[in-house]
Amino acid sequence: MSNNVIKKEWRFNFDFSVASGETYGRFFKGLNDKKIIGNICNNRTFYPPKPFCDKTLKPPDAWLECDGAGIVEAFTICCEKSNGVKFSKTDKKPDVPYVLGVIKIKDSEHCIIHFISGFETKDVSEIADKIEIGMKVKPVWATKREGEILDIEYFEPVI
């Protein structure tokens, strides 16, 4: 028995198409226009916005808008290339090392996951020195924007 006969291989190849709905649609349109859209519900602020309040299941009270400046709540420095990870349809994949962060925009109750970059070095220990929890960051906009989450290329430290 050789290896290729005792194994069978196949692939799943599925196409999907999902609706954004109004709420995420507004958020993505905002990104296209270099704005961060959020919403507010019972004095709870959300960036990105929520389609409905997770407590009452009712639509939120009002739309909000801000420049996207926020605080790093947590982060990790990714040092190894990972096989099979595609970042988006356009695959704007950063080279290693890169930083993935958890960012709280303004007074939002929840955070957003995004890249943190702009350290002007590829040295892991130098990057580690330049980033810390609680640090202020702001979005850096992609030149070509298509109304998707990577319209923000990354967040960079506010100096």
Binding site: V5, I6, W10, R11, F16, A19
Partner: protein, 156 residues
Amino acid sequence: MQDISYNKRFEYNWDVPFKVTLGESYFRFLDGLKNKKILGNICPKCNGLHVPARPFCDKCLVEITKWYETSGIVTIESFSVTYVKFLGLPDPPHITGIVRAENAVTSFLHQIGGIPYDEPKELDEKTKIGMKLKPVWAEKRIGDIQDILYFTPVDA
């Protein structure tokens, strides 16, 4: 009421490779196809003939180790003629069916072909439950269920 003018559709794709281990029974069954043999095996407890061969009998939950080479002739249990183009399927009309080898306690799924027709619609009548079929083998066989291209009437 939502304002659907903001709605945007996002498209994405899953393309995921898989690899499974055959185990001895399926290996021997598929390897048999490579040699133009349709192998079954017989449960030591209930004497049931299983075609395709399988590792254990699902009634008795005992290992099946006794091998049996069938004549290759199968009987149609049921079938359906596909008249519409399906993604990933051969052009219509094509027939898939459930066929049974000899007096096996299990049947299996395969394609049925070589039934002559003038109008595709006739295939519903010309293919018959209970009809005896024989395998048509692929030229190049690799140890796969599709080493049998399709089953065709014995008198064809």
